[in-house]
């Protein structure tokens, strides 16, 4: 009976907190959703129609360069992706810092001379990042090799033809032939992507990028709610556990009652914003697959059981405010990082990716994506139950130790 009373008290305590925690959860969810939307909107990593503005610094009046940029801007397949804007270096720096330019290139005066004479020893400098290289910096490195390969092989083709023609005394035809071969090569360059024939399998297998990041967004939200819940756990009195034990509720039942009350509150905090989002967006139709409220509830239930147990364990084991916040951050970010919350899990080194998959965050990710999108069943549920039990056992052991210590 006293157990039921204790549980009822815990529920009442959570209801009292719900008035402040639920709006915060709604707000946090809105912020995460806005952040994800903002990120995809402005980084352009998934939008194939993103147009990049590239600043051109230096003397581009030379005929070949002028034609080159004109061709890329008007005839090349990249004309839908890139805009070239001539400007001074100061303007470029200013616009780049302000974020209105994606990158800028500085073309040295000697560049064309070096290419025309086949030396290729005066490079164009491209600035795509402000120091911090980031992923876009690595992509730009790759892109520069692509352009260089195309330019140098075209160049070699023309100069070889000229060399052969000269050696055979065909100097009179040289100008005409050079122009002809040049135009032929330019035609090839402009249509280079026609070498490949694209076939899309469609969306039936695997996760779409937006579905993937939808799942990571939900999980990040669930994990971060633990930090927001700090007030629910603060101000705990160690003597209270001992006192409850004397009243007949041992550490195990104390933890179980408090945990389930916390779980119910957190489940509501996670489910309500998502249900609202589903209502507003016609059952998440923006994900190219409808997600129904019931489906969402059953997907979230075991995940929240595990994540709440995880939060509970952290609050139970690390009672110092400073350490608690830092531990939560390190664990959430660390687990999230290796489980692919930020960079897709498949792009991580294999052993890290495999390790990330067996962590609570990775299991939750597999479960959520499986339940919502790929219909891979509930194979991860057992794993999450095991994690929940382990986390709760650690919490009980800690509570028992605290009760024992306060009894000394």
């Amino acid at each position: 009976m006293i157990l039921v009373k204790y549980f009822a008290v815990q529920i009442k305590r959570m209801i009292k907190h719900a008035a402040s925690v639920l709006p915060i959860a709604m707000l946090l969810f809105s912020c995460i959703a806005a952040a994800v939307y903002f990120f995809f909107q402005y980084s352009g990593i998934t939008d194939a129609n993103t147009k990049y503005r590239i600043g051109i610094v230096g003397n581009t009046d030379q005929t070949y360069l002028k034609f080159g940029f004109y061709a890329i801007g008007t005839m090349d397949v990249s004309k839908y992706m890139v805009d070239f804007i001539p400007m001074t270096e100061e303007e470029a720096k200013e616009e780049f810092r302000a974020g209105t330019l994606t990158a800028y290139v500085v073309v040295p005066d000697e560049f064309l001379d070096s290419v025309v004479h086949g030396r290729n020893d005066v490079p164009i400098t491209y600035v795509s990042t402000e120091g911090h290289k980031g992923i876009e910096g690595y992509l730009m490195d790759e892109f520069s090799v692509v352009i260089s390969d195309i330019v140098t092989s075209s160049q070699a083709s023309i100069y070889s033809m000229q060399s052969v023609a000269r050696s055979l005394g065909k100097n009179d035809e040289l100008g005409e032939w050079t122009e002809e071969l040049n135009l032929r090569l330019i035609g090839y360059v402009l249509n280079r992507t026609d070498f490949a024939e694209l076939e899309e399998l469609g969306i039936s297998k695997g996760l779409l990028i937006r579905q993937y990041y939808f799942c990571t967004m939900i999980l990040l939200f669930c994990f971060l709610l633990g930090i927001s819940s700090a007030p629910l756990f603060s101000g705990k009195n160690d003597e209270f556990g001992k006192w409850m034990k004397m009243r007949g509720i041992g550490p195990f039942f104390q933890v179980v009652c408090e945990y389930f009350a916390y779980f119910i509150l957190m489940l509501i905090c996670v489910y309500v914003p998502l249900a609202v989002l589903g209502r507003v967006t016609d059952n998440m139709s923006f994900l190219h697959k409808k997600v129904y409220p019931g489906q969402l509830f059953f997907a979230l239930f075991p995940i929240m059981l595990m994540i709440c147990a995880f939060h509970f364990m952290i609050y139970e084991t690390v009672r110092n405010t400073v350490s608690n916040l830092l531990v939560q951050f390190v664990m959430i970010m660390g687990m999230g990082y290796v489980s692919g919350f930020f960079l897709p899990a498949d792009s991580l080194p294999e052993s890290i990716s495999a390790f990330g998959r067996i962590l609570p965050s990775g299991v939750a990710m597999d479960h959520l994506s499986g339940m919502l999108f790929t219909e891979t069943g509930i194979k991860c549920t057992a794993m999450m139950m095991i994690y929940s039990i382990i986390f709760l056992m650690v919490s009980v052991m800690m509570r028992r130790w605290i009760v024992m210590r306060s009894g000394e």
Binding site: I150, T193, A196
Partner: protein
């Protein structure tokens, strides 16, 4: 002054009596070392499967070998059959499958002869995106040199006819002229620290940003610790007007401990630039964090309110500061976040002044808010 030093010492003693604090500090280098240790393993932003029915030593096979050998942020793997590759694509083991045809060199020569381009390579994907469009450019750039060579030989034989040199001579001339190399050099705004970043991979690149956010979290934790003490009445003996210095002292102690760990972690990752410069920037960063946290502490009296603010701050910093991507179009919002200035200033000294201004303006705001609050 002596009193502040004593207070700092006592706070340090109090923090280090908590085993959890020591474990938290030690966790960072251990985790970072673990990640660094595994960072050199094979990985790629996009995984591409390659298959050719052509025999070993053929041009298609040569292209595949080149993909497998080249260092890249994309991961390439070869498949024995088309079915195996498609199965891997369906199982999400790869993001795209490129099927190179038999006799690719002959087909290219034929196209060069007919002066047109037609699809030769099958590219199978689950869903097209910017990264995959980009990888197709790489694919074409690997095929293009052969095509350019064929265009040259074809043109020579067409226009010079019987007098044209044999294939071997044509190849010799081409090889003697062709100067492969990168026509582009990466540049950065401000100071070039690329040498220090040689050990960085795309996997470890965001680590500095995440560690910087961890430092801000340490600032938040110190603030919450102070507020907790305040609620318990620990500072009741200290006049209200002097409490701000106490809050700053606590921030200084916590941030010093975390700063040392931060530098060790950066050292393990191999992303430390000049140590003296790093220390100076870190001190400024710690100052900005203290100011940022204390302003929030003065605006929000409630410990609960600060706790609830933390996830928002984490989120804002991850998205708006240059951690994974540099969203330069994010505008002025990120100007309130200390890691933004710090991460930028490390590579572009132009931001150093912004940091100093942030610190000065923040300190002034702190003092004013404290005065207003006491009044």
């Amino acid at each position: 002054m002596n009193r502040i030093i004593v207070r700092c010492f006592l706070t340090e003693k109090r923090l280090f009596r908590k085993i959890s604090f020591i474990i938290v500090l030690l966790m960072i280098p251990v985790l970072v070392a673990g990640l660094k240790n595994r960072a050199d393993e094979e990985s790629g932003l996009v995984r591409i499967g390659l298959y050719t029915p052509d025999e070993e030593g053929s041009f298609s096979d040569e292209i595949i070998d080149r993909f497998l050998e080249d260092e890249s942020v994309f991961l390439y793997s070869e498949y024995e059959s088309e079915e195996e590759g498609i199965a891997a694509l369906e199982e999400c083991v790869i993001d795209a499958l490129w099927i190179l045809p038999e006799d690719l060199d002959a087909l290219l020569l034929e196209l060069a002869d007919r002066n047109r381009i037609k699809p030769l390579i099958r590219v199978i994907e689950r869903e097209d995106d910017v990264a995959l469009i980009f990888t197709r450019e790489i694919l074409c750039s690997k095929v293009f040199p052969r095509f350019a060579y064929d265009a040259y030989t074809d043109y020579v034989s067409d226009h010079i006819g019987a007098d044209a040199p044999d294939d071997e001579t044509l190849r010799m001339v081409y090889d003697s002229i062709c100067r492969k190399g990168n026509l582009f050099a990466p540049g950065v705004l401000g100071k070039d620290v690329s040498e220090a970043l040689e050990e960085e991979t795309y996997f470890t690149a965001p680590m500095r940003g995440l560690l910087a956010i961890w430092m801000v979290l340490a600032g938040f934790a110190a603030l919450m610790y102070y507020k907790n003490d305040e609620e318990k009445g620990v500072h009741d003996m200290v006049p209200v007007s002097r409490r701000l210095s106490g809050a700053f002292a606590l921030e200084a102690v916590v941030l010093t401990d975390c700063g040392i760990i931060y530098l060790i972690a950066c050292g393990i990752l191999g992303i430390l630039t000049d140590p003296v410069r790093e220390i100076i920037y870190l001190i400024l960063f710690a100052g900005c964090i203290s100011v940022f946290c204390n302003i929030l502490g003065l605006l929000i009296n409630d410990l609960r309110g600060i706790g609830m603010l933390v996830p928002f701050a984490i989120l804002l910093m991850i998205v708006l500061c240059p951690v994974f991507f540099d969203l330069r179009s994010a505008g002025a919002v990120r100007g309130i976040l200390p890691p933004f200035y710090y991460l930028k200033a490390l590579y572009d000294p132009g931001y150093l002044m912004n940091m100093v201004i942030y610190l000065a303006a923040g300190s002034f705001a702190c003092v004013m808010l404290n005065l207003a609050k006491n009044r």
